[in-house]
Symmetry: C2
DNA sequence: GCAAAAGTGTTCTTTCTACACCCATGC
DNA sequence: GCATGGGTGTAGAAAGAACACTTTTGC
């Protein structure tokens, strides 16, 4: 068995959530080297006999006190010179469920204007964003950022925020309903204007609805 | 710093190639416990100060003596009980460039009927196949399994083999040409029947042509 | 001249896109 | 009664699917 003796293994998690009608990401301080404040992605060393997913879950609890969230492995980065391997996940935190524990000096930032990040974390964040956008286009993952029940306008808003473009209301509704991944509930939500029907994600829906292919 | 002291780190590579009009995968023996022969995915320990991609490249050379191939990270598996982390890549080896070195007792198997595999390698293989099929549908990655120049029929064949379904010749040609990822060369290939024009992949083509979305 | 593979267009159906007005409620 | 967001349908354009015959070569 060659080398690989004293390799450090860490898990980092990119926490996405909707706040103030923006997609935001949770970051933690990485010290202040020369006056400028540096930030980094939240993470954790992988403890002995802990699995990678478990460790990612530990991060969720540690940083936002939240069990259960959509979690997906993003990529594994090897830093040869540092003898460090970083397995990166991203998580989607439903609106409201993100307290961002005060004892940890973490802070939410809009994904469009993150602060200066250590190492290649900015690149990782960009990649995560690309993957999230891509995933949103062919799966129903958008619901993971919303509470259990939501209106169609809220859902459309979520899509618009993440994709960064306006969508047509009628077309959006027609397709999302045709895709058969959400169902109406008997409830409505009041507020300003006409009350809106509440929908919920159909747990029995197929997770990955197949997109039309490019090269059939 | 918690734990993570004596973690083993390995890279495994799933080598795909077309042989005998089938998609095949290279496997290596894993001993013969009780008479039945067991196989595994080729791999390597990550040597000190070697990057993950480098290590995957070392695997390519070690197992099929091939530098340069399409290589993509698939997934990272953590085996908590074994204190082992396995970063898995898959590679697409162009037809012909796979000698499967004789000194290593490796062997090609059709992906549809692999032998018994150790650990969760069968599951990994299935996942790789799914990812490859999926990728084929929205990118031009099929070319990576063909030689530099190829006929449209060969290309269509490649797609049919991997996707496991027949495609319409005229529709296939129309779309693959419209996608603007291949270009004709001045050459032809003879053989039985009418000679066919040779095409090549356009290196300047955008790698990921965007598929139509499901939820716009 | 015939076997074998290459090459080529059209029609019909489905899906996409763009677009504007009435509805239900709170104040 | 009016401001506010919720909800609904259609027509033209684009893309997809299904389909059969002619062409070029080697033997």
């Amino acid at each position: 068995m060659i080398g690989a003796g004293d390799i450090q293994l860490e898990v980092r998690v990119i926490l996405f959530s909707l706040r103030d009608r923006q997609l935001q990401v949770l970051l933690v301080p990485a010290g202040e080297p020369q006056g400028t404040s540096l930030w980094q992605l939240p993470g954790n060393q992988v403890a002995q006999f802990r699995s990678l997913e478990e460790t990612a879950g530990v991060c969720l609890i540690k940083y936002i006190g939240c069990r259960e969230a959509y979690l997906e492995q993003l990529y594994t980065y090897g830093y040869a010179e540092k003898q460090l391997v970083s397995v990166v996940y991203y998580a989607l935190i439903p609106e409201g469920e993100h307290s961002a524990k005060k004892d940890i000096l973490s802070q939410w930032f809009p994904v469009e204007m993150p602060p200066i990040l250590v190492s290649n974390h900015a690149e990782i964040l960009q990649y995560a964003l690309r993957r999230l956008r891509y995933k949103l286009e062919y799966t129903a993952v958008g619901f993971e950022l919303l509470p259990d029940q939501f209106t169609l306008s809220e859902l459309q808003n979520t899509y618009e925020i993440i994709l960064g473009e306006k969508l047509d209301k009628r077309n959006f509704r027609r397709r999302i309903l045709r895709a058969d991944v959400i169902e109406p509930t008997p409830h409505q939500r009041g507020g300003e204007g006409r009350p809106a029907r509440l929908f919920r994600y159909r747990p029995d829906a197929v997770a990955e609805v197949k997109a039309r292919r490019l090269f059939p």
